[in-house]
Symmetry: D2
Subunit: 263 residues, 4 copies
């Protein structure tokens, strides 16, 4: 059974900072946001976690394997190198949306995102090592069928972008409402979803829904492990299987009689 | 009248590179994408342009003020410092979507995004200095009313994110279909649109549409200049005016009898 | 007794790469070198190690606490995000220069720095957890007395720089020849030395030597721990003690009867 | 005749900032310093200038071609993205050390490097376009003969480093004292010097001096242009000529009867 640890990372007092004493150059804000995200991606990624850029002032991370000290070191390092600081809330649950609910609530109790006094809060409790299991994290890596030939090489970039966005918005709503799963666009035509236990029919169902609702065709690879890096790499390999075999869903997950498939 | 110069920046052969010889660590891809975007934001931004991350392997930039040599220097510098290279297409038109159409078509003619041989192409013609005018670029900076109190401090982060995404998707489609304008989410609850000549009623109309379609309330500041940096800063200041005056649309644009408003 | 783990990090085939097919823009090389170093500083630093930029194509790191898997992950991440790759040699010894000798020899045996075929080598054996002790790493943090009032605010920057360089060159040679210690300029007027067991008189001796040889006055704080991050922070605090008390040497090291001083 | 524009870039109040409220993690300081330098290298480099890291809290740049607005934009962008700010002094003179003297003095008059109140000063006057000539900047690019086979592949890295440092220290003092030239180690076995008008015998003289004083053998390529990027690339190509022809000095500089050599 899945047991996802999610961390919500929020820049302290960012809205006011961006316009005080007056509005700052947009390209400097874009640069700061992207590089702060990249630093978090490297820190968390080197401990086998994932960070998704989400809204940039609020970022969602899958952090099975990182403890309180890891989170606090991450906050200290950002505080030393950026003109802003970050607060963090953590939650753990078999359903990703509920883990994020806990993480967000912990932060909200500590103070508003625009509270001039709230700085570098850390709220919540991380998974202990002994409570971790090989099925804690389930990752689904989706991409759009033939995106390059259907969109990138044919339409102007914005119309390609609108198509991909439509597919993303549809999948994101469906998986959150039906499964409590969280989906993130990660560039190109790729979407990564953090899922609870879901079987092949649940994925087929999501893919059918998106095709019916917006006409975008997806395929998916799924992986499971005690950490998101390993589950994610298994999902990527499974997606390559879809490409080679012409299939729509490939699952690299444990079968009761075999044990956890290796990536 | 607007005369927007848009540049499409595309990473060469990126899809294949990300899985050759086998899939790469996702956090390394996220880091590379974000830092490449940040570098382009700095380069273009320091010449008074804007870059939007869009799909990360394909990025849209407003480049009034940058010429062919500037674009080629940008390509050379990326080629020296990253394991990938970029191709660029440029187009100029009073309607942004048409400028992007030209930019995209120029690139597509040179070869597919996944063409193993296509590297560091530059296609298209930039605006000459003498053809530039003070009304070439119109920028609208939208944000969501009371995002922090309505969403960030109340819902879990993913449900806040879904609300913002809904508002973005609705605005993006409406403005593209009605006006040929291009809209980009830039973090937090902010959307920047690159527009043709539009008056206050056109903006009210877009805001009403989004509220009716998805229930998200926006406000907007608009600026005009011969370059996007100046138009964008004027738009930000106009948005601050909305905040102080409680209004929905503020336009810092030239009136026939007054000349171009200063930012 | 000290037991220093040193890692030599070398960019593969860098010399030839910088001039193939022809010489690259110097500022792009400077940017690549500095950012690659910064990434290594973050990776190693987040595991309580230190990296010194040294010659940029060859960098020396103190890596007590990092194992083979950590080094290989570091190499994989660099290989995914840069147009160059890195090879690593590791050595462990109570005398730092001997640890570095082992690290360098391991790499040299695998192939020349400019061997077109040598890529991403990892040579050597890291310390096992059970062999680590609280006195493994001794760090000395030197700075120049009154550098700001004597140099920075009075001489032109290059003449200030020459003075600091003289002090560094003198200290570096003395400590290497007398003690097998390795000294690195880290910016401003600061030098960090990785030392074997040395007592207060050994440090006074080094400081006197530098003053006699080149007329530059230093002071120093010294710390000891099982990892360089902790030893280094103790050394920084000890240096602050020098500042407050007007002393020349402050040692935050274990006394036989007391146990290891806490930082 | 040379006419070098030098800018001194100094981080405001850095010393105190690094220890307030208490000493910061060394690897975070190294990361901040290196990335700030890299950003300046990109900004200045994209305008055909050079920045040298020097002491990191004080950096020397050759900025022929950059005006006051360029410098102020550079300061604004750093101020928006880092927890520190920078002050700048500019000077112009046919002798580099005198240009730097002017630059430094302008900054010093505005306030101490550790003055809690001095922030983002800009002192001095940049070259006007009409006063620029094709011989304004003379660049010499030195490297150590056979560094890889003599040092990198034979000695341990620190002893290689000591040899290179010796060569650098000797050259740096000689050229400053004899010629008012400024020399900077730029990684590997490379040194770049910013020179006044110097002929071949002056370079041979410097190379002989270093060989006699410390036993390190150098070769050099020299270039001249109205900006350092062009002079520097010409110097790099000239150095490649030394490599191919087995010579010690190659000068790509204008001859009275021929006009400026093309790079």
């Amino acid at each position: 059974m899945t047991n996802t640890q999610l961390s919500l990372i929020q820049i302290d007092n960012y809205g006011p900072w961006t316009v005080t004493p007056e509005p700052r150059r947009e390209m400097d804000l874009q640069t700061l946001q992207s590089r702060l995200f990249a630093d978090l991606a490297q820190f968390v990624g080197s401990r086998d976690g994932y960070v998704f850029f989400t809204r940039f002032d609020n970022m969602v991370a899958v952090t099975n394997g990182l403890d309180g000290d890891d989170h606090e070191l991450m906050q200290e390092s950002i505080g030393n190198r950026y003109p802003v600081s970050i607060s963090v809330g953590v939650g753990v649950d078999s359903t990703p949306i509920d883990a994020l609910e806990t993480a967000t609530a912990g932060l909200q109790r500590a103070g508003s995102a625009q509270d001039g006094d709230r700085r570098e809060v850390f709220a919540g409790t991380t998974l202990t090592e002994r409570d971790r299991t090989p099925t804690d994290v389930q990752i689904a890596h989706f991409d759009v069928n033939d995106a390059t030939s259907k969109y990138t090489d044919r339409l102007n970039e914005f119309d390609s972008f609108i198509e991909i966005e439509q597919g993303y918005a549809s999948l994101m709503r469906h998986l959150r409402e039906e499964r409590g799963a969280l989906s993130f666009f990660v560039g190109g035509d790729n979407i990564i979803s953090v899922c609870p236990d879901m079987d092949e029919s649940a994925y087929r169902s999501a893919i059918d829904h998106v095709e019916r609702e917006v006409g975008v065709e997806l395929k998916v690879g799924v992986g499971v492990a005690d950490n998101v890096q390993e589950a994610g790499i298994a999902a990527k390999h499974a997606l390559e299987e879809c490409r080679h075999r012409g299939t729509v869903v490939e699952m690299d997950v444990p079968r009761p009689d075999v044990g956890l498939a290796e990536d």
